[in-house]
Symmetry: C2
Subunit: 338 residues, 2 copies
DNA sequence: CTGAAAGCGCTTACAG
DNA sequence: CTGAAAGCGCTTACAG
C-alpha cells in the first residue's frame, strides 16, 4: 500500500508537505502543490483513513444501528438517513440488528470513534443503553425509545393505537385480533396500550385468544393469521403491529380463500410505501410526509456540530424528544362496515 | 477516551500485556489476565479499531457497494450479504449508490483497508472498474458485471429475457412494451438482448414507441406506463426490467382503472419476495432459491482466506464467473391468453 | 510470562 | 512556505 512517504519521495518533499496539500492546500506553494498532486496521481495514492482518524478529532462518520432490512420500514429509513448524511458530508456505517447483539455493535461503534450514533432497535429497558449514554458522544434513538430520559424521535404510538382501534370499532368490529411483537419494545408496548385503552373506553373486553405477542416477523404473523381464522369464532378484524406483518397476513388470508375486507378487515402501522399500492390498499397509521429517518439524522448532526456541551454532569443535559402525531390512512382493507 | 495505557496503569502492568490479553490470552499468566480484564471492565475500555487496523494485516471487514435500497432486490441482497458475512466473523461496511459516485466509494473503501469488496452497481464500461482491479484486494461483482474479464455472480440475463418474452408470445401477445433503465448497465443490456432476439426469432418487429430506456426508477416507470396506455394502439403486455418497476407499474395501471392481466399483461425480472404475494401475483423471472448475495459473499470470503496469490501478473489470475440459470415463475399478471 | 521499543500512516504544533 | 519531530493507540518481534 502506497503511503504519504512514497508520495513525498517522488515529489521530492517531506511527508508533512504531502499531508498539507491534503488538509490545508493554501498553505503550500502552488508549484510544490502540483508536484505533490502529480505524484499522488502517479502512485494512485489514497490516504489511510485509519491513520487519519487516529490523530484527527472528527471522523465525519456516523453509525446507524438499524432494525432488519426484512422490514421495509427500516429499508426506507436507512435509505433516508444514509442519503441525508451523505448530503451533509457524513459517511454512515450501517449495522443491522441481525448481525449480533446491540452490545457488539456498541463495541464496534465505540472502536471506530464515530461522531454520532443513531439507533432504531433499542429495547424499552435495554441494559446497553446506559453504555450508549456514557459514551459521551451524540446519539439519537429513532422509532423506538428507551424507558429512561433519552433523545428520540418517534411517533406517538399510543395515540396511533387508539386511532386505529377506534376506526375499527366505528366500522362495527368487536372481535379484533391483535398481532404484535414482544412488549419489551416501546413501539409494541405503546401501540398495544393505545389499543387496550380504546377498547376499555368502548366498554369492550379483549378476547385473549385473539391476542398474540410472539409475532416478531412476517412468517410468524402468517401462521397466527391462519390459526386465528380456524377458531370457532374467528375475529372480524386483525390489527398487525406493523405493515410488513400486515401485508404478510394479507397474503395468508388471501391464500386461505378469504376476502379482505368483507370477511376479515386488516390494518397495520407505519404506512410504508406499499400500503397505498392499489393492489394492497392497506389501512395504516403513520406519517409518510414526516421523514422520521431524516429528522433523526438532522438532529444528530446538529448535536455533533454544536460541539461538546459545557455541563459537568452529562445527565443534566436536556434531551431532544420529538414525538410526532400519527395520521390514519383509511384504505380498502377496512372499508367494509359490519 | 480510555486507552490501553490507562488499563495498564490500573492493572499494574505494561501496555503490551494489555494488548496480549486481547489478542493472545493464553500467553499471559491467569492472575495478571484477570487483573487486566477487571481493569478493562472498570474503565469500560474498548480498543481503538483504527489503531488496530493500522498495524494489523486484516481488518476482518468487507465493503459492500450496493444499488439503492429503494429497490427491494438490493434490500434483500444486502440483508443476505451482511448476515452471511457476520456469520463468518466479518463486518460489512455498506455503501449505497445514491451516496456518491463509485469513485468516492472506492476511495473510502481503499482508505479503510477492507479485506474485500462486493459491488452490485458497476456499469458495463465503468472506468472505475480498473481501479478496483488494481487495488489488488479480492472483489466480487454481483448482479451486474463489467465488460472486461472480471469476477462476478449474476443471472444469465439474456436467457432470462428470452424466457420471459417467449412466454408472452405464447400467450398471444404481439404488442409488447419494454421499460428499461439505460443499456450501459449489463443487466439491462442483456435482458434487452434476450427480448430482441426472441422477437426476431418469432419474426416480429419491435414497435419502437413501446420501448423506453429511460425508466430508471419506479416513478419513471409509472409515468411511462401511463403514456403507453394512452397510445392509439396500446400494448397488450408490458415487460419491466425489474420487479420493483413492474410493481410500481401495476399500481399505475390499476389506478387508471385497467385490469391486469385481462387488459394488459405485466411481467418483471428478479422474482423478489413481493412478486409471489397473493395480492400482486406478478410473473417474473429470477431465482429465489439461489441466494445470489450469499453466494457473492461466500466466494469473496473464500478468496480472502485463500490469501494473496503468487502470480506476478494479476491480470493472469483466473476469474470466478458464476452465471446462474433463470427460472420463470408464471403468475396471474400474465395469465390471460389473447 | 512480561517489558521496552519499533513501527503502522497520518496530523500538527514548533522552528526556521 | 517547509522540514524534523512528537504523538494518536495499537501490535509484535526481541530480549530477558
Amino acid at each position: 500500500m502506497v503511503s504519504s512517504k512514497d508520495v513525498a519521495k517522488l515529489a521530492g518533499c517531506s511527508q508533512a508537505t504531502v499531508s498539507r496539500v491534503l488538509n490545508n492546500p493554501e498553505s503550500v506553494r502552488p508549484d510544490t502543490r502540483t508536484k505533490v498532486l502529480n505524484a499522488m496521481k502517479a502512485l494512485n495514492y489514497q490516504p489511510n483513513l485509519a491513520a487519519r482518524s487516529l490523530v484527527a478529532r472528527s471522523t465525519r462518520t456516523i453509525a446507524l444501528v438499524s432494525g432488519t432490512l426484512k422490514n421495509n420500514f427500516f429499508a426506507q429509513s436507512t435509505d433516508q438517513i444514509v442519503t441525508y448524511a451523505a448530503g451533509r458530508g457524513y459517511k454512515t456505517m450501517v449495522y443491522f440488528e441481525n448481525e449480533g447483539s446491540l452490545e457488539e455493535m456498541m463495541t464496534a461503534v465505540q472502536g471506530y470513534k464515530v461522531d454520532g450514533i443513531i439507533v432504531s432497535c433499542v429495547k424499552l429497558d435495554d441494559p446497553h443503553f446506559t453504555q450508549l449514554e456514557q459514551l459521551g458522544i451524540p446519539y439519537m434513538l429513532f422509532n423506538r425509545r428507551h424507558r429512561s430520559a433519552c433523545n428520540y424521535v418517534a411517533m406517538d404510538n399510543e395515540a396511533a393505537g387508539g386511532l386505529l382501534t377506534r376506526h375499527l370499532l366505528d366500522m362495527g368490529h368487536r372481535d379484533i385480533a391483535y398481532l404484535s411483537g414482544p412488549p419489551d419494545i416501546s413501539t409494541f408496548y405503546e401501540r398495544w396500550a393505545g389499543f387496550e385503552k380504546a377498547m376499555a373506553e368502548a366498554r369492550l373486553s379483549v378476547r385473549q385468544e385473539l391476542v398474540h405477542f410472539n409475532a416478531s416477523d412476517a412468517l410468524e404473523a402468517q401462521k397466527l393469521a391462519w390459526k386465528l381464522m380456524q377458531l370457532a369464532s374467528p375475529p372480524t378484524a386483525i390489527i398487525c403491529v406493523n405493515d410488513e406483518m400486515a401485508i404478510a397476513c394479507l397474503d395468508a388470508l388471501l391464500s386461505m380463500g378469504l376476502s379482505v375486507p368483507s370477511q376479515v378487515a386488516l390494518a397495520g402501522f407505519d404506512d410504508i410505501g406499499l400500503a397505498s399500492h392499489q393492489a394492497i390498499q392497506l389501512t395504516s397509521v403513520g406519517q409518510h410526509k414526516f421523514r422520521m429517518g431524516e429528522m433523526a439524522a438532522e438532529h444528530l448532526i446538529a448535536m455533533i456540530e454544536a460541539g461538546p456541551s459545557d455541563r459537568t454532569r452529562p445527565q443534566d443535559e436536556p434531551r431532544i424528544q420529538i414525538k410526532f402525531k400519527p395520521e390514519l390512512f383509511v384504505r380498502r382493507s377496512t372499508s367494509y362496515k359490519i
